[in-house]
Structures are given as structure tokens and as C-alpha cells.
């Protein structure tokens, strides 16, 4: 069954069109890859699906689980089961990662969590990501290195267990070991709840350990090509040139 259905979506910022008629469908539990050169609109698509007020939707619809969410605010989309891993997670001084996480989980589930249960879950998830337990008490993303921030995003993914996770350049700026750790986290998420993935990337390192159901190439705000693993392999071999020169 279709989980996310994007139909002829156009969106932009201050009158400038960034997405120019995009249609794509992600089924439950599927893994999709969104690739393309810098500035193609990949992140814009991710943010627009999440409901960022920065971008204005000028046409088309976004449906999630059959519901039209085009006009919904980000928190409502999160409650329906959409998650976005940020390329540059925001630092929030004065709020610990742990307090924030518990608060977010309670908001999404609408239920109070027992502190003990929460801590157990958090500890287990942090172990998967090889995060030092001390990070739980640190202010959210404040002073985290690039790699730590990405791990903290995947930690939230593991805790919140959304139906669809959009990962925006989660692999960028990570060394080989960190990519492995983050991949293990993403794998754990899929095994835990069978969630769908939309992976935004301009390289394919992170995809080595993930079976790809569908790949989309985005160029200049439009889909230039779609296919399966073979498309990822083609990009791997010869980059995006073949798609941009069309």
C-alpha cells in the first residue's frame, strides 16, 4: 500500500520555483533513494514533505497513509509518522538530549513514559550507535561534532520509530567507521518497525548495506530518471552527467 504519495508537487521559496512538478510514491517499508547534483531540489523535497514553513507549496498534493497532508504543520506530520533527519541539526541550548527525546516521544504517542522504561530504551539505542552515554545529558546538539549530530539524528529515529524516515545527507561529512555505525542504526530501525526510508544523498556510501527498492534522480527540480539498484550503480560509475545533459 502506498505510504507517501506525492502528486505533481511544485514548491519554492520567495517566488523562486525549486520543485517543478514532482510525482513519486513510497510504499510501506520500502527503501527509496533520492539522488542528484547539488541544488537539484533533493533537500527541498525532504523539507517540503516534512512541512517546513520555509518553502511554499504552489501546487500538487502530498498524501500520507491516504490522508492529504499538504496543509498540515510539521508537528502533525510527525505525529502521523514522518521523520526528517536534518543535514544540519539545530543546536538547542539548555535542553538535554534526553529530556528532549522523552518530551518528543510523549508528544508523538500522546502517552506519559515511565522514566525507567525511557532510559532503558535510550541506553539500548545509544549502544547501537556507539554513542557515549554522557551525550544523553548534554544540551541537544550543542557542541556536538558533525558525526555526533548525525548519530543523534539516527538516535531520534530509533526512538521515535516513524513510518517514514527521510534522511537528508545523513552520510555527508562522516568517516568510514561513522558511516558503518549510522548504517547499523538505520538497519536497526528497519528491523524494529519495518519503516520506510527516503534517503537523500549525492553519493552512495551509505547505500552499500541497504537494499534499495527504488532510486530517483532529481535534476533542476524535476525527476530525470527512476529505476532500481542499477540506477544507483550507474550513478556510482559515471555520476550525474548523463542526466544533467539530457
Amino acid at each position: 500500500m502506498a505510504l507517501l504519495e506525492i502528486e505533481n508537487l511544485t514548491a519554492g521559496i520567495e517566488g523562486k520555483a525549486l520543485l517543478r512538478g514532482i510525482s513519486l510514491t513510497v510504499g510501506s517499508g520500502e527503501t527509496h533513494v533520492l539522488m542528484g547534483p547539488n541544488g537539484a531540489g533533493k533537500s527541498t523535497l525532504g523539507y517540503t514533505v516534512m512541512g517546513s514553513p520555509e518553502y511554499t507549496v504552489t501546487g500538487g498534493t502530498i498524501r500520507f497513509d491516504g490522508e492529504d497532508i499538504t496543509e498540515l504543520s510539521a508537528d502533525k506530520r510527525a505525529k502521523l509518522g514522518i521523520f526528517l533527519s536534518f543535514q544540519s541539526p539545530v543546536e538547542i541550548p539548555g535542553i538535554s538530549l534526553s529530556d528532549f527525546m522523552r518530551n518528543a516521544m510523549e508528544q508523538i504517542t500522546g502517552e506519559r513514559m515511565k522514566l525507567w522504561d525511557f532510559k532503558k530504551k535510550l541506553k539500548a539505542a545509544m549502544e547501537i550507535l556507539q554513542m557515549d552515554a554522557a551525550y544523553a545529558d548534554r544540551d541537544l546538539n550543542v557542541g556536538f561534532s558533525g558525526g555526533e549530530k548525525k548519530k543523534a539524528e539516527i538516535l531520534q529515529l530509533l526512538m521515535l520509530r516513524p513510518k517514514l524516515a527521510i534522511l537528508d545527507e545523513t552520510d555527508s561529512g562522516l568517516d568510514v567507521d561513522a558511516v558503518k555505525t549510522v548504517s547499523a542504526g538505520i538497519d536497526a530501525y528497519r528491523r524494529a518497525c519495518g519503516g520506510a526510508l527516503m534517503i537523500i544523498t549525492h553519493n552512495t556510501k551509505i547505500l552499500e548495506s541497504l537494499p534499495v527498492d527504488r532510486a530517483h534522480i532529481l535534476v533542476n527540480g524535476q525527476l530525470a530518471a527512476e529505476g532500481g539498484q542499477e540506477l544507483v550503480d550507474a550513478v556510482n560509475r559515471s555520476g550525474f552527467e548523463a542526466f544533467t545533459e539530457k
Binding site: S52, D75, V90, I92, G94, I95, A104
Partner: protein
Amino acid sequence: MKQKPQITDINRSRYDFRFAEDAGDLLASGITPQIIREISEEKGDPEWMREFRLHALEIFARTEMPEWGPPIDGLNLDNIVAYIRPKSRMNTEWDDVPEHIKETFERLGIPQAERESLAGVGAQYDSELVYHNVRREVAESGVVYTDLESAMHDPRYAEMIRSHFMKLVPPTDHKFAALHGAVWSGGSFVYVPAGVHLEIPLQSYFRLNAKGAGQFEHTLIIVEDEAYLHFIEGCSAPKYYEAGLHAGCVELYVGKNATLRYSTIENWSKNMYNLNTKRAIVEEGGRIEWVSGSFGSHVSYLYPMSILNGRGAHAEFTGITFAGEGQNLDTGAKIVHQAPDTSSHMDTKSISKSGGISTFRSAVTVTEKAVGSRSSVSCESLMLDDISRSDTIPVMDIRTDQADIGHEARIGRISNKAVFYLMSRGLDEQTARAMIVSGFADNVSKELPLEYAVEMNNLIRLEMTGATG
């Protein structure tokens, strides 16, 4: 592990109630020598105190209104009833406290707070202490915690009070210090003997609850050499529409190598004029640590001063001010370095919203004697919308070139990116904004005992929804 406060659902009514007026001996409005004599007689003041009051009234009469800070012409001094004595007398047992007063306190959570961790409660209802209790172990350690009036009549402390009362803040300091000297009523006296470390904090809770009533409580704390005390002062007031005035006075004496931590959460109703004076003097190697949360009031003037009087003395000021609609809060801190190798640090945050005005004043004075002194001031402001205002006014008077002085000020707004980030995790916009603001206020909340930190976050949340009186 450090426990950060959780933002939980709050019962708004807690901050917004009052009982029907029952203050019996409402003296005539307006302040005349006759009234001062009546107050003095009612209290059975010693001779010196009656003279002190009358002298302070003279100073009050001839002193001009303050020329700095936000306007206070909405304040009608003639209408302020200086002294309203509640029907109840001093109580040492909770059971003896009259029911309606108890109800007020229970809604403020005082008995619970006491049960949990606090050593004693001195709660002021209207102008007099009605409940006072210090746990036995505190008393046995030689610590004195009582109301100032009782102490003044106790031969063991009478001389101590006479030699310290309004010596740090003389009535000539400013007009409202003079008024305070004339009409002061209630407040706390704490004496910590040399070498005594009181692990549990002492708490007092002040509250206004009568129309037009002024609150003029006086706090006098003496911490002898090598001793330690944490004193917590909490204030809140019910909603009122008639001009109210708070002109309290706090005097803190910190001995050699002693430490005094003085924490305050003030939450006055939005029609109050909070013209409060706080001052500490710190001897060699001693420390004063102020933790201050200023909420509520229509206008506030509040600048706790630390006088570093002995070599190596240290002052620390951590504060937050929240100015919402109709509020003009003029707060800050003053530090006087007048001995060598003294050090001070100010870390303040201010938040303004819905047209609120927040002004932060820092004044650092380093005298010629204070060679080798260090001072750093950090001030951050957060404006929650375009109609609010935030100003920083740093003043430095440095009389030696052998001092290390730093000042840093930042003004910012809540970033839309941060709000979206939190919303993408399921927090609605209001919750996301409240969380960012609570985080901003973390410098103060992490210095407060948990229950106070929770209360402060609740207050911030209330202020964010604009629902307070």
C-alpha cells in the same frame, strides 16, 4: 545524573487567585509621622528603632523620586497602606495557622516544600510572619532563623541587629530605601555561626494579599567566617488592579571564607511596582552567589549589589528577567571590587515578549585598592517578537590598570529553523517555543533546587501563553 526539569501541565489557577480581604487593622492611607508612630507602637519597637523609622520618614519626605529607570508615576504613594497586620499571630506549628491563610500557602506548595527538603519556613502573609518553623537540627547547629521583629526583642540578637540593620543599605540610598526604613515590617533574620555548614536550604515565601498593601519586608542575614548558607526567597502575588508596591530590603553579611548563596524567584502580579534593594558585603575569601529569577510586576527596579571587601572575595550573579505585555523591568547587578584579588562573574539572560521592555544594567566598580581583580559580565537577550524591547546598559568604573575586565552582550531572536526542528519531532509550535525559551533560561534553572526550577519553567510556560495576570 543531573535531572533537568520537565515541562509538565500546570494548573494556571495556582498563580491567579486571592481570598477576600480579611486584613483587620487597616490603618489610614497615606504615610505620616503619626502612622509611623502607630506602626512602631503596634510592634513594640525599641526606642532606637522608633527613632530610626521617624528619621527615615524625614529622608523619604525630602528625597526626590529616582531619576533612572522606567517611569513610576502610576504609583500613588498616598494610597499605599504601609502596614496591614493579619488577624493571626506568630505560629510555630502548622496546625495553628488559620485555615484561610493555610489554604493560600498550600496552594503555593509551602508545606510540601518543607516536607521534602527545606529546613524551615518563614512565610509572610500581608505584613507579618504567621508561620515560622525551623527544624530542630538546624536550631541545634546554632543557626538562628526567625523573623526580624522577634530577633530585635531577643537580648541575644538585639545588639547584632542594631549594628547591622540598614547599615549596608542606608535610608539615604534612594527614596524607596528611606520609605522602607520608615515602614518596614516582617522579614527574616538568619544568623549562621562561624564554621557551620548548613546543608539544607532555608526558605522564605513572601506574598502580598491585600488591596493597596505595600510589602516592606526586611531580610538580614549574617554568615560568620567559614560558614555556609543557602537561602531561598520566593515571591508571588495574586492578580490585582490597584497599584501595589513592593519595597523590600535585603542585607547580607558574608564573613571570611564563608559562602552565602541567595536564590530568588519573584513573581509579582502585573500591576506591582517592585522597587527592591539588595546588597551583600563579602569579607576575605568569602563568596556571595546570587541566583535570581524576576517575573511579573508592572515595573521593577532591582540591582543586587555585591561589595567585595576582603582580599580574594568572590561574587557570582546568575539572573533571568522575563518582561511580557505591559511590563518594564529594569534589572541588573552591581559589583564593587574594593580589595585585591577579588573576582566576580555575571551571567544574565533577559526575555521580552508582547511589547515588554527589559533593560539590563551592569555596574562594575574596581577601586584603586583592588589590584589583581577580575570581572566578567555576560548578558544575553531574547526578543520573542518585533514589538518587544531589550536594552543593555553596562557601566564600568575601573580605577586600576591591574585588573582584568570583560563584557559580552548578545541579543537574539528565536530562530525559525529551531522551531521547525522541534516541530518535526512532534512538538506543537507553542511547546517548541516554550522549550527554546526554557532552555535559554537554563543558566538560572540549573542553579535552583529542582522544585523551584520546575516552578520557574511553569512560569515561563505561562508567560509564553500570555495567560498570567
